[in-house]
């Protein structure tokens, strides 16, 4: 019946009036006993999930999302317990249930998938053994029968070569495949409830997209109720029907997914949506508004509304009285949209204006663009390469007679960076973007090609560079917890480069300069004597930026500076970087895996794959056709925090080839979904290195497909 128009699936269309939820959580409070008293990690959380429905729980780290999940499977550790409330699974209370009965439910009717698949699988057991035992233990079927089922299920989750995988150990397959195994294992017994705690957080964006597709498909096929926990609004928007937003241990808003994005009613939800860059937005046309302050620790939560210290609409009542999760708006929607705010009806997110003290960079996009165009080139790479020799494991290799092999981490990268501009580099893990900047800064010696910085050759490593070059090239690091030396105070750590590069003459001068730098990154002088453990992640990242700026470098290399931060803090740090750049005229290289962030932050973007640049050009040009097929695939994989946006469905097959012997011709040809546009299904791609096609001024694409064809691609995202 092809004439049948759009028809919703039964569960989404008509829910039977008498249908009971698979999972119902009522006023759940979970407390952990600590040395002095106890801490309520989760307070009064309620929600229900029906068959075939996916309920998303979002929030920043430390909001108690995972605790909710663990309390359902009664796995709160030795010191955690459910203090109040009920958890009903299929009508049966799970709190205080007999441990043996709970064990029977787990893995049979309730299954769980969580963040890091490598950690979740037993490293010393074959995958087949780990999967089959779910069946042999619960169903008591024979091992050979169980193996057959496991292979079927692996096929079901699109695992290539499932029979072979059964005999392997976890470390022998890739991260995406591990997560497929974990998901297959969870589905073996056809559970009624599947709990997924950040199932794709550790995965690359294209792998994530494929896993999310899989989850969505399986949910419809098996009618499983899914509790989906994520910090990423985009991911939740893609796979969930309904969403609960958690903040400081409480559920502050609960609504269908379209509703929550179209009509966010809690100030925190509004703040969250404001502080992530939209894909396609850039810094000259839009602004990110961070949420001020930070998530309080569980034992330091305010007595009134949990969000009150960070809220822009705070009133006296918010401090005094804890709001309840209450239905919002008219009676028809009462069941669907609830919010925990006293004033939700009065708040109009459209009328929101940033508070006066908020850090918002004031940029003049057009002026900057003009300046950049005219500026001199500060960094020039021509065919820069970095190969690592690897020793094989065979006897021959050990004796040194085997073939010498090399990992081609960076393979002939060329680009110019004009002074004062920002070049963003994107690509999935293992594409060589980190090695590239390590080579530029001199942590690695290059293996070939040219690299000039301020007209000086920088193909050598740090030990051979002069102090003048070293101080002009500084770096901002990814992990806030390791960017600062825990043994020294903030003042000492920012002061060190000042002394090292002779920027100051006396202690007093040093101190004054450090405080000036602290102020520049929006921290006050009281931070001078603090130790890193007394700072939050965002503050540490600010200090890291101040330290990089201390020597007044021309070029700052940023290695995923915001990817480890919570979204609300991420916005603040991005704003800070832009401000610093505007003030000091610093040039930046910016690495990130998040395409929206790169698009937002960069003037131009380079897309890397297997050590090579696939496409480079002005940011706005990269995100619209014509683009490289790989760029297209990346863009179509990005989770967009907007359920109404339409996104093309392009998925890459197979794994990234080993950089030990990258495919000949175009390195992307083994996975390219657009090869069929060329004659003989792209025979030329495997044989010949593609040409650099000039799409526009400064926009180059490394592909055999003619520009005209590339330009005819449909835009990946239509909002």
């Amino acid at each position: 019946m092809s004439t049948i128009a759009e028809r919703k699936s039964p569960t989404e269309g008509i829910r039977r009036p008498d249908e009971m939820p698979v999972l119902r959580v009522d006023d759940l409070s979970v407390a952990y006993k600590v040395r002095d008293g106890e801490v309520e990690a989760v307070q009064d959380v309620s929600f229900e999930i029906y068959r075939g429905e996916s309920f998303g729980v979002v929030g920043e780290s430390g909001c108690g999302k995972s605790t909710v999940a663990w309390s359902i499977v009664n796995f709160l550790g030795a010191n955690g317990y459910v203090k109040r409330g009920r958890i009903l699974f299929q009508g049966q209370g799970l709190v205080g249930k007999d441990p043996e009965e709970l064990r029977r439910l787990r893995g049979d009717q309730i299954a769980m998938v969580y963040q890091d698949p490598m950690q979740a699988l037993n490293p010393s057991m074959r995958l087949g053994d780990q999967m089959a035992e779910v069946l042999t233990v619960h169903r008591g079927i024979s091992r050979s029968e169980a193996d057959k089922r496991c292979v079927q299920m692996l096929e079901r989750v699109y695992m290539p070569d499932p029979k072979d995988v059964m005999g392997r150990y976890p470390h022998q397959i890739s991260g995406g495949q591990q997560q497929r195994v974990v998901i297959a294992m969870a589905l073996l017994n056809n559970p009624a409830l599947l709990i997924m705690d950040e199932p794709t957080t550790a995965l690359d964006v294209t792998v994530e997209a494929a896993v999310l597709d899989l989850i969505d498909e399986l949910r419809h096929e098996f009618d499983t109720a899914i509790l989906f926990i994520s910090h990423n609004l985009g991911v939740v928007a893609r796979v969930c029907n309904r969403v609960g937003v958690m903040y400081a241990g409480e559920m502050v808003e609960r609504a269908p997914v379209t509703e929550i994005f179209a009509n966010p009613s809690h100030p925190y939800t509004q703040g969250l949506i404001r502080c992530v860059p939209k894909l396609g937005a850039d810094k000259s046309s839009s602004v990110l508004y961070p949420i001020r302050g930070r998530v309080p620790a569980p034992d330091k939560r305010p007595s009134g509304c949990g969000f009150s210290p960070r809220c822009d609409y705070i009133e006296e009542r918010c401090r005094a009285e804890k709001p309840k999760l209450r239905p919002l708006g008219d009676a028809l929607l009462a069941d669907l949209h609830s919010v925990r705010c006293h004033f939700a009806e009065e708040i109009d997110p459209g009328a929101w204006t940033p508070p006066e003290d908020m850090e918002i960079p004031l940029l003049n996009g057009e002026k900057r663009a003009a300046e950049t165009a005219a500026a001199e080139t500060i960094l020039q790479l021509d065919g820069l390469s970095k190969f690592y020799p690897v020793s094989g494991s065979s006897l021959k290799d050990m004796l040194g007679v085997g073939e010498k092999r090399q990992v081609k981490a960076v393979n002939g990268v060329s680009f110019d960076v004009p002074k004062g501009s920002t070049l963003g580099i994107v690509g999935e893990s293992g594409c060589g973007k980190s090695t590239l900047i390590r080579t530029i800064i001199g942590l690695e010696e290059s293996s070939g090609g040219q690299a000039q910085f301020l007209g000086v050759d920088i193909t050598d490593d740090l030990a051979d560079r002069s102090s003048e070059i070293i101080e002009e090239l500084q770096m901002v690091f990814q992990n806030p917890d390791s960017t600062m030396n825990p043994s020294y105070t903030v003042g000492q750590q920012i002061g060190r480069p000042l002394r090292r590069f002779n920027k100051v003459n006396s202690r007093a001068e040093e101190q004054a300069e450090v405080i000036r730098l602290l102020n520049a990154v929006r921290l006050d002088g009281s931070y001078y004597d603090r130790l890193p453990r007394q700072l939050s992640g965002g503050e540490k990242q600010r200090v890291g930026i101040a330290r990089a700026l201390a020597s007044r470098p021309e070029l700052v290399l940023c290695d995923e500076p915001v990817s480890a931060l919570d979204v609300s803090v991420q916005a603040a740090v991005l704003n800070l970087l832009m401000e610093v750049q505007a003030e000091y005229g610093t040039t930046m290289l910016f690495i990130a895996h998040d395409l929206s962030v790169v698009r937002f932050f960069s003037d131009s973007v380079a897309v890397m794959y297997l050590g090579q640049v696939m496409e480079i050009g002005p940011a706005e040009a990269i995100y619209a056709p014509p683009y490289h097929p790989y760029t297209e695939a990346l863009l179509s994989a990005v989770p967009i925090p907007d359920p109404s946006a339409k996104q093309a469905h392009i998925r890459l097959e197979g794994n990234v080839p080993s950089p030990l012997n990258p495919p000949g011709g175009c390195p992307f040809h083994t996975r390219c979904p657009r090869r069929n546009l060329l004659p003989d299904n792209g025979a030329i791609c495997a044989q010949e290195v593609p040409p650099w096609q000039q799409a526009a001024e400064g926009h180059r694409i490394f592909c055999h497909i003619p520009l005209e064809t590339l330009a005819e691609f449909e835009p990946v995202i239509q909002q």
């Binding site: 796995f75 029977r104 035992e133 065979s394």
Partner: protein
């Protein structure tokens, strides 16, 4: 995996080599004049010099090291011109050096300026006759030389008509003899051919005296090991899965107490309790015959118990720590959430991973066991390797110390290799790397 194993094996060889160098130079070069100890403090410098020559101590250190490690019979043979071989003495069973002169085993002796050749008869006795005159060769300075093998297992150089006066240590004391050789090479096959030389204390081959001692010690340590390992691993696992409960507390604190108490203290207490107060077990291990250990197993009860007490605590603590870590890991969480019964979680999922770390450490810990063996053997008067090293070290008998120490080091390194192998076997990440 091949790579990992090859590495361990190469590293093991280098380690043994380094140890042998360190041991040799520390002892033979670092320690003072051993002849003082052998001849007594009242000996004269001349006597000591003569004795040093007889022991071959006048050779340069590197040469002595080479001799010690790989033997010197091949070097001596180039002087004598005859192949040098060993043949067991039929009475004592100890090996004697002979020169193979055209199929006949021969030795020489100088009496009153006259050189005699002793040829070995099939019954073990020897037939003495004057040596042929043509054995003498003309040396650089015109003197007549002969390189032969003497009756004490040295390759020696005699000069015709000009015998050196030599000091010989007999039971009655030092005695001077004439007609001594000019140069000595105390023949040995070297450590790599399992001949560590002669004891300076008893002048008997070290290898002969060492063997029964090693056997006794292996029995002692082996029994202790067999008692300790299963028990300690079991206790460690029990404590680990019950982290924080009373049973864990009891095991942990007892283990800590047992590890932190030196063997001699534990041993003394055990003697006090079982040997003196309860009178269940003999307080000392007096060996009336070399097979006493088999005739009266009670002899090793207290030594084994002492060793067990110390080792048990250590291994149990390691296992517990490892078990606690594993039980806290994400994959154990996965197993529990898969609804596996607790026993299966522990036995199938946890134990294997939890044993990986302790096994390498346990194998490294064999060192510690050997240390304990020394103390325990001294404490109980148990005639084993440990007491042997101790006695030899006190005397300064470096041939014996070197041999025994090399043996312990080899055992230690070998067990470490076994530990590496076991780890490789248990850990698929290495096996399939």
């Amino acid at each position: 995996m091949a790579r990992f194993l090859l590495r361990s094996i190469i590293s093991t060889f280098v380690t043994v080599l380094l140890v042998s160098i360190a041991l040799f130079f520390l002892l033979e070069v670092g320690s003072g004049d051993i002849t003082v100890k052998i001849l007594g403090v009242f000996s004269t410098e001349e006597q000591r010099a003569s004795y040093r020559a007889q022991l071959g101590l006048d050779a340069p250190p590197w040469q002595r090291y080479a001799d010690w490690l790989i033997g010197n019979d091949w070097r001596a043979a180039s002087y004598t011109g005859f192949p040098l071989v060993t043949e067991d003495n039929l009475q004592t069973g100890e090996a004697e050096w002979w020169a193979d002169v055209n199929g006949e085993l021969a030795r020489w002796t100088m009496e009153d300026g006259e050189l005699f050749m002793l040829t070995r008869q099939p019954d073990g006795s020897s037939n003495q006759e004057p040596a042929a005159a043509d054995v003498w060769q003309i040396g650089e300075n015109g003197e007549e030389l002969f390189w032969g093998v003497d009756t004490k297992g040295n390759a020696v150089k005699w000069v015709r008509g000009a015998g050196e006066p030599v000091w010989v240590l007999t039971k009655a004391g030092l005695r001077q003899e004439g007609d001594g050789p000019r140069q000595y090479i105390p023949l040995r096959k070297g450590l790599v051919r399992l001949d560590p030389g002669k004891s300076l204390q008893t002048s008997r081959p070290v290898a002969v005296t060492l063997f029964p001692r090693v056997r006794n010690t292996l029995i002692l340590a082996g029994v202790a090991f067999l008692v300790v390992m299963p028990l300690a691993l079991l206790l460690g696992i029990i404590a680990g899965i019950n982290e924080g409960k009373w049973i864990d507390r009891v095991i942990s604190i007892t283990s800590l107490g047992a590890t932190a108490t030196p063997e001699f203290v534990t041993g003394v207490f055990l003697i006090l309790v079982f040997g003196i107060w309860l009178k269940w077990l003999p307080a000392v291990s007096v060996f009336l015959s070399s097979d006493a250990i088999f005739q009266d197993p009670k002899l090793i009860a207290l030594p084994v118990l002492t060793l067990t007490a110390v080792e048990l605590g250590y291994v149990a603590r390691m296992t517990r720590a490892s078990m606690v870590e594993v039980m806290d890991s994400a994959y154990i969480r996965t197993a529990i959430i898969k609804g596996m019964p607790y026993s299966r979680v522990v036995l199938r999922h946890a134990v294997r991973n939890a044993l990986m770390a302790p096994i390498t450490i346990i194998m490294l810990h064999v060192n510690w066991l050997i240390g304990g063996v020394v103390v325990v053997e001294v404490l109980f008067g148990f005639p084993g390797l440990g007491k042997y090293i101790y006695d030899a070290a006190i005397f300064g008998d470096f041939n014996a110390v070197e041999a025994a120490a090399m043996l312990t080091v080899t055992i230690a390194i070998a067990t470490r290799l076994v530990g590496d192998l076991a780890y490789t076997f248990l850990n698929p990440r290495i096996r399939y790397a």
